[in-house]
């Protein structure tokens, strides 16, 4: 419950304007909390007189937190390859494990994983739990989830990280629910709190308009999915030593009620825009589907992939997997070039954490320029071809 100390409240109204939910209002010189309150704590921070407090209700006895130890990373393996985010997770996982002075382990689930376990070790893992079985050739939430859950129950790691990918965001929430563990989605920063060793999980909320830091004080493991491209992988070190523990799945774990009929790699969607360092994004300014030819050319020249706004996806100019924004994907590439995109909040929500943003738009007042590091005002059909030529020239010189 949010408690308001009527003695201390001076009715200044700062909490009222700070509340993202419009759930607090000043009436008769004192703050009053309404039904929309989600106990997010924003108001508590802004209250100088200290009149606001979130009262934590009585907790049932916390479980034995100290018996959980070690950091785990889910090594996502699909179609014979490791998802790049898994190596990034090992990078941050190593840092967390070293700070906590505990080992770092990776879980590898799949079929015909070859020397992938070795790769995980070379990238930082001390131990790899390998579950390699023909029945695991296709991802299913039930089998992967059951295996992960039972490994965690048995080995009791204090922290479990997975990539915020289609797969990670699908089965990890099921695992967390079964374990009664807290799960923080889409983290962009992870650190250990000095006082008590708790995992500080920071993530964007409200389409990136605010950042929130989250802890799981009374439950273990502490689980997070982590956005691709925000953490740094360690350099590959073939000399690094580690153990590989092979675990055999039980028939019950492999039984699933969802049957995979086929798994289709789409030609066009083959590039996962969340894993790309450079994105060339097109909007309605491209005029029609053919405009994307130009975007593909620029992307090819830069070694990047093509992204799009909802407006052009809805118009059928390009597929939904390319959509960036609130109802599409959230991306954080190194370079994002927005061509003929107005910069609606719903679009910006999905790309504002890019390292560098370039905007090309003929309307100098387009909101995209508010988030752009570099802006060119003009016709994209004139600018992009020239840009391509200049890039070529630059490369030659």
């Amino acid at each position: 419950m949010l408690i308001i100390d009527k003695e201390l409240c001076i009715g200044c109204g700062i909490c009222e304007s700070a509340c993202p939910f419009g759930a607090i209002a000043v009436a008769d010189g004192c703050a009053v909390v309404g039904d929309g309150c989600t106990l997010c704590g924003t108001c508590v921070e802004t209250c100088d007189p200290g009149a606001l407090k979130i009262e934590e209700a009585e907790k049932s006895a916390p479980l034995d937190l100290a018996s959980w130890s070690g950091v785990w990373v889910y090594g996502e393996f699909r179609r014979g390859a490791l998802a790049p985010v898994s190596l990034e997770l090992l990078g941050i996982g190593r840092r967390l494990a070293d700070t906590r002075k505990v080992p770092l382990s990776a879980v590898l689930i799949g079929s015909e994983t070859g020397d992938t376990a070795r790769q995980l070790i070379a990238h930082g893992a001390d131990t790899v739990y390998r579950i390699d079985d023909p029945a695991l050739a296709h991802f299913t939430d039930e089998a992967y989830g059951a295996i992960m859950t039972s490994l965690i129950q048995k080995n009791k790691p204090e922290i479990v990280l997975a990539g915020a990918t289609a797969i990670g965001r699908s089965f990890i929430p099921g695992v967390a629910t079964s374990l009664g563990a807290g799960l923080t989605a889409d983290c962009t920063q992870l650190a250990i709190r000095e006082e008590d060793g708790a995992l500080l999980q920071t993530r964007p909320a409200f389409g990136g308009n605010i950042m929130a830091t989250i802890v799981c004080p009374n439950s273990r493991p502490q689980m997070s999915t982590v956005r691709p491209k925000v953490m740094q992988a360690l350099v590959f070190d073939a000399e690094r030593q580690g153990n590989i523990v092979d675990v055999k799945p039980t028939p019950e774990q492999l039984a699933t009620r969802v049957r995979v009929i086929e798994s289709v790699v789409s030609e066009e969607d083959n590039v996962n825009i969340q894993e790309s360092d450079i994105l060339v994004a097109g909007g309605r300014g491209l005029d029609n589907a053919k405009g994307f030819t130009l975007m593909r050319e620029l992307a090819a020249s830069l070694g990047g992939a093509v992204a799009a706004t909802r407006a052009v996806v809805d118009a059928g100019w390009i597929g939904y997997p390319h959509q960036v924004g609130q109802t599409g994907k959230t991306v954080a590439p190194k370079l994002y070039i927005a061509c003929g995109i107005s910069g609606a909040v719903q679009h910006v929500a999905g790309m504002q954490s890019a390292e560098t943003i370039v905007a090309i738009n003929r309307d100098k007042d387009a909101p995209i320029f508010d988030v752009a590091d570099f802006g060119l005002v003009g016709d994209l059909f004139e600018i992009v071809p020239k840009l391509l030529t200049k890039i070529e020239e630059h490369r030659k010189s």
Partner: protein, 259 residues
């Protein structure tokens, strides 16, 4: 077919933004809307009902004003609406939310299919759907982009993946979360709007669903927000000068490290 759709009322993104001067959240006239993904979930439920017969119940956990989105769903073709509302639910994270919704589903009764949006745009977690399925011990599929085939006993679906899609088959009961590609939501009909005005919304409290106080709201939430702060400001925009050609040259120079 008995279908239940979980819908959430969320603040409209275009109203929620940081005041650049004070670094607090400006919330002047924040409008509440139905979570966009949930509109697609409601639409898919209504289409399945039209195809196979049956009824659609929409369910929301939220403050009393969440009634608005339930009525909106009725106007788009849902038959019944249930609102679980109690001050004790405040501060619920996805774990406590899925617990509460699971308890409410049990009160509503038997169902064949449960639909959720892929994620809610306020928290963007995408965790409630899978959590709810685990609690009800039914299989689930996330990010469904197409229902290829629907019969009285089960479904064939396409699930969006990062590199394409998977084609999956399952029998009821099951839970799906949907992405916006799955359909184009209809606009409410006049008849629907009339019904939405009059429909009685069933209200349930924490006691009505038999919720354990230790599992709901803040006490039931393993995750706790300890700090909220503005994201790092982006650096100032560089302005190029000169002819367009010069400007493009300057841009290429600035982008050197990426080339």
């Amino acid at each position: 077919m008995k279908i239940i759709v979980c819908i959430k009322q969320v603040p409209d993104a275009k109203d929620v933004r940081l005041d650049p001067k004070t670094n607090t959240l400006a919330r002047e006239g924040v409008q509440s809307i139905m979570n966009p993904y949930d509109q697609h979930a409601v639409e898919e439920a209504v289409r399945l009902k039209e195809l196979l017969g049956g009824e659609v119940t929409v369910l929301s956990m939220g403050p009393p004003q969440a009634e608005k989105v339930l009525r909106q769903a009725i106007s788009c073709g849902a038959d019944h609406a249930v609102l679980v509302s109690d001050r004790a639910f405040a501060g619920a994270d996805t774990w406590a939310t899925s617990y509460t919704l699971a308890k409410a589903v049990n009160v509503i009764g038997a169902f064949d299919l449960l639909l959720c949006g892929k994620q809610a745009i306020d928290g963007d977690t995408a965790q409630v759907g899978p959590g709810l399925a685990m609690r009800l011990q039914i299989p689930y599929v996330t990010c469904v982009q197409k229902v290829r085939k629907a019969t009285d006993t089960g479904l064939v679906l396409e699930r969006m993946m990062d590199d394409g899609y998977d084609v999956l088959a399952l029998d009821y009961p099951a839970l799906l979360t949907v992405v916006k590609d799955i359909n184009e939501p209809r606009v409410p009909s006049l008849k629907g709007k009339m019904r939405a005005k009059k429909v009685e919304i069933r209200k349930l409290t924490a006691a009505d669903i038999g919720a354990d106080p230790a599992c709901i709201g803040l006490p039931g939430s393993p995750t706790q927000v300890v700090k909220v702060f503005p994201p790092e400001a982006r650096c100032k925009r560089a302005v190029f000068t000169g002819s367009l050609d010069d400007q493009i040259g300057q841009l290429v120079d600035s982008l050197q490290s990426y080339l």
